[in-house]
Amino acid sequence: MQIDVHNLSFSYGHRTVIDSLSLSLSSGDYLVIRGKNGTGKSTFIKCLLGMNPVKNGMIFYDHQDINYFKEWTCLGYVSQKFEDFNYEFPITVNEFLSVSSLRKTSQSNRLKALDQMGILELLNQNINNLSGGELQRTFIARSMLNDPKLLILDEPTASIDKLSTEYFFKAVNQLNLQGVTIILVTHNESLGHLNYSHVLTMFSDGTNTFQTRDRCDLSEVDF
């Protein structure tokens, strides 16, 4: 998915969090967003997800103004925490994936998504019996279920172990190779394990830098 951001600014009251942010991504690009707490990373993600209304500046998805964009199912989103989700009522992973996609997803689609995350055996498990890491991998599998054109990942591996992180980035690289545009927010200073094409660094005064990088061969990627 092609993404164009033109002169985007966003303020909370008098405090400017994003100041004149512009960037352009093509299908299959991989953007890493870094910055300390309070530099506007999550605010920018919320703008991209349509949760923060874009008033100053413009965002286009495949040349379509975000304010008129309707195909939200093309986007996959994984956040650090899913505070909005009700974890206490019994629901199996299979049922959860089934109601998470309004398109009729086949069982094989769901199995494939779980297999990509290495949690195939959790299919019929009750979600409230899963560990934090298993739960996060289930949410990641869900984001892949709709065959997203753009995958937005807001520190998705912050609460999971090394093995799950490895599964996760392998799956993300695989999707990226298939042409899915990736936007990843990270606090991690080390980006050695990521095969990104662009990096956006955000600063606390609202300013930012956007750089392009030569991508390495995937075989060199080490977790």
């Binding site: 939200w72 899913f82 909005d84 989700f85 009700n86 009522f89 019994p90 629901i91």
Partner: protein, 294 residues
């Protein structure tokens, strides 16, 4: 006592009507109740019940003014006011996003105050007892048909929009991303809930509506392993409560709503107790590993 209950069940029309209405409500209440529990709005049935009571008290008050159009069927205004109550809850919820319960307390207070005022003005406070505690044994054929129509509409909506309703209930933000019109589905569910609450009001009474909707679901959550199994178990518990509740009401001449809810509570306590015993046994049986020994 048991034999005469079964004999009367099939010989007395009022018993058959009560059983039929109870069995339909026994499915309807937990199906709606499970969504209410997922949305963490367990208090809402009480809230809407109180607002429905306003409609009934207004019907009675209007009849004292000579407007008797709703006197025979006070439930119509009950349903209308229940829907208004539901909309007020949604309205207040937007002002107190992180304190959902505040909106319900505000609406329940308005409902209780208004119904007390109109019952008092109508000078028909004698009927208040029936509306507070319900009387499923005195319901008419008309009411049974009304319950049946409500059930058909609710199940049809669930068949068509079930996936969206469940998606919005479990996680609003993801449903939004999937392109679901969250506001529309919340509104649709609130209308469904308001109608079901009003229909329940006559049989179990305003004070026991919540129990009929929530307690079977609360018990089923302790043993269910999936959304589907939890809902089915809740329906089974609910139907058992209706049947044995009617038997209790008939045998000991006690209010039917209270009897049904009492069985619900007994089931909940029994399930909790059995689960506790079983989990204790499992802990005891678990072998001592090297790690735990250390």
């Amino acid at each position: 006592m048991v034999l005469s209950f079964f004999t009367d069940l099939f010989q007395q029309d009022f018993m058959l009507r009560a059983l039929l209405a109870g069995l339909i409500l026994g499915v309807l209440a937990p199906v709606i109740g499970s969504i209410v529990v997922i949305r963490r709005l367990s208090f809402i049935a009480d809230t809407l019940g109180h607002f429905s009571l306003v409609g009934i008290s207004v019907s009675l008050f209007l009849s004292t003014l000579g407007i008797s159009i709703f006197f025979e069927r006070p439930l119509y205004l009950g349903i209308l006011f229940s829907v208004v109550g539901g909309l007020l809850v949604e309205l207040f919820r937007r002002s107190y996003k992180n304190y959902k319960e505040i909106s319900m307390v505000i609406v329940i207070s308005i409902g209780a105050a208004l119904s007390a005022i109109f019952f008092s003005l109508s000078k028909k406070t004698g009927s208040l007892y029936n509306y507070l505690f319900g009387s499923i044994l005195t319901i008419t054929n008309y009411y049974v048909i009304l319950i049946l129509i409500t059930a058909v509409i609710v199940f049809a909506l669930f068949i068509i929009f079930g996936k969206q309703i469940v998606a919005v209930s479990f996680e609003e933000s993801n449903a939004k991303m999937l392109g679901v019109n969250v506001g529309l589905f919340q509104f649709l569910f609130m209308i469904m809930l308001s109608i079901v609450v009003s229909v329940l009001l006559e049989s179990v009474g305003v004070l026991l509506i919540s129990s009929m909707m929530i307690i079977p679901v609360a018990a089923a959550m302790k043993v269910g392993w999936s959304y589907k199994s939890t809902t089915i178990i809740a329906i089974v518990f609910s139907e058992l409560s209706v049947f044995f509740g009617l038997w209790m009401a008939y045998s000991f001449t006690i209010p039917s709503g209270a009897a049904i809810v009492s069985i619900n509570v007994i089931l909940l306590m029994a399930i909790s107790f059995i689960k506790k015993i079983r989990s204790r046994k499992l802990v005891k049986k678990e072998p001592i590993t090297n790690e735990s020994a250390e």
